[in-house]
């Protein structure tokens, strides 16, 4: 049923840690603090939270061994440390971890499996090089790419971005326009790792390439950071202190074609990403023309173009011109505020959190000096073909 859950679940409160290079404390300890703060923000007691949904992925290709409570935090770990006895705890395994976790929470609340669900995302920046590996043997699918030196997400996105640039005549300056917008907005956000540190196009262009056409600034900075959101049914949310923000609909991508590991041809992204978008609009009951706060994912800068196009904000192949022409300048009237929350490039590698935080703060009227007049938002995460997105609304419709 396409309308399942539409506007029946709302975000009732949230909390977020500062986003920093390193907490100097175990990730779990910070997550417990942030979870308690989020529950209090929602006007609830810890013992009222009976559902926990999250993804605990440590998103690196490097040789880091995740330890629950130290470098990752699973829903069960958090529930136990908060002293809760959850009726429902579930982990999301796919890409687009935050939209996937929201989907689990919505389903649990609509079916009555839980009454108040805590969704968290806890990210850790491990010591050493983030994506570097000492592996000297390749097994399984990796044997077809590692001996060639195709390893990790940098060549992955470099190849897709290069395909876009060549096919549509885009340039490094066009990519830089995405990054400059993200950093401009991120520099105004007090909790961001890039607070007070905007980037101009000359600095961007002076940065050495890593995997052409991608440079360091096209990649979000690995960080330590935690965000927690409390979700409940729309009806219960009426009695809580903050204005509810409703989940109008959600969608995830996939299945994609079977490819070599991290081989993301542009046409796969478009083809499956368009299906992600179709599912999203069908589920939410709105389309791009009704969305005034599209928070697009930018863990790598080219994703912003791809989301603009698959979601229908731009014709295919046009997003680079749209962005470079000021189309996503969130400071001008008529600009589409795609990165008004700073995104990942302007906050740090928070894996969909900045997009969701911005939707929540703006639509609940809690954005303070950054408050905009908006009604319907979209929070995207990951690539359009593997990831997901959630439509949020200030009103039930």
């Amino acid at each position: 049923m396409a309308t399942f859950g539409r506007n029946r679940v709302a975000i009732a409160g949230y909390a977020q840690s500062p986003i920093v290079k390193s907490f100097g404390r175990p990730l779990g300890a910070v997550t417990v603090d942030v979870a308690r703060a989020a529950i209090a923000d929602a006007g609830l007691r810890v013992d009222q939270v009976d559902g926990f949904c999250a993804s605990a992925l440590l998103p690196t290709a490097g040789d880091h061994s995740p330890v629950d409570g130290v470098s990752v935090v699973t829903p069960n770990w958090l529930a136990a440390r908060l002293g809760c006895n959850p009726r429902y705890a579930s982990g999301f395994q796919g890409y687009g971890q935050l939209p996937g976790s929201i989907a689990l929470a919505v389903n649990a609340l609509v079916t009555g499996a839980a009454d108040h669900v805590l969704v968290h995302r806890a990210l850790h920046n491990p010591p050493g090089r983030y994506h570097a590996s000492g592996r000297v043997e390749a097994r399984g699918d990796a044997q077809w790419v590692m001996p060639q030196g195709f390893f990790g997400p940098l060549p992955m996105i470099g190849m897709a971005a290069n395909e876009y640039l060549q096919r549509y005549g885009a340039t490094r300056e066009d990519l830089g326009a995405v990054v400059v917008e993200a950093r401009k907005n991120g520099s105004r956000i007090p909790w961001s790792v890039w607070h007070d540190r905007p980037l101009d196009l000359d600095e961007y262009l002076a940065s050495p390439l890593i995997a052409d056409p991608v440079c360091r600034f096209d990649c979000d900075m690995p960080v330590d950071g935690v965000a927690c959101f409390v979700l409940t049914t729309g009806d219960r949310a009426q009695d809580l202190p903050h204005a509810p923000v409703y989940v109008a609909g959600y969608a995830s991508g996939a299945p994609t074609r079977h490819r070599l590991p991290l081989h993301w041809p542009l046409d796969d992204i478009y083809e499956v990403g368009s299906e992600t978008a179709r599912r999203l609009w069908e589920r939410a009951g709105v389309g791009p023309s009704e969305v005034d706060l599209p928070q697009l994912y930018d863990g790598f800068s080219p994703f912003v173009w791809l989301w603009l196009e698959v979601l229908g904000f731009c014709p295919r192949g046009e997003a680079h011109r749209f962005v470079s022409g000021g189309g996503i300048d969130s400071d001008v009237p008529g600009g589409l505020p795609v990165l008004s929350g700073g995104g990942a490039l302007g906050n740090g590698r928070m894996h969909g959190v900045p997009q969701m935080v911005e939707c929540y703060l703006q639509l609940s009227g809690r954005a303070g000096s950054r408050q905009r007049d908006t009604t319907v938002g979209v929070a995207c995460h990951s690539s359009p073909h593997y990831g997901g997105a959630v439509v949020y609304s200030a009103e039930r419709f």
Binding site: S133, V145, Q148, G149, G152, G158, A211, H263
Partner: protein, 69 residues
């Protein structure tokens, strides 16, 4: 063009070029390999390549590509 290595053994090869090749023009039959023409090769989408092999060690050969003239 890969300019930073994330695996051991590649540092001396930097920068190197990776290509996404549709074998025999079949879009679903794709292989990623190194292009041996160097980082400044005039590489464009749709360029024709031929297959070759890099002999890395005794009994170890990895498929690679070079631009068709």
């Amino acid at each position: 063009v890969v300019r930073q290595a994330f695996l051991p053994g590649f540092a001396d090869d930097l920068p190197f070029v990776l290509v996404d090749v549709a074998i025999g023009g079949h879009d679903d039959l794709r292989l990623i390999g190194r292009l041996l023409d160097g980082p400044d090769a005039p590489l464009r989408l749709g360029a024709a390549v031929s297959v070759t092999f890099e002999h890395l060690d005794e009994g170890v050969a990895v498929p690679a590509f070079s631009l068709e003239p």
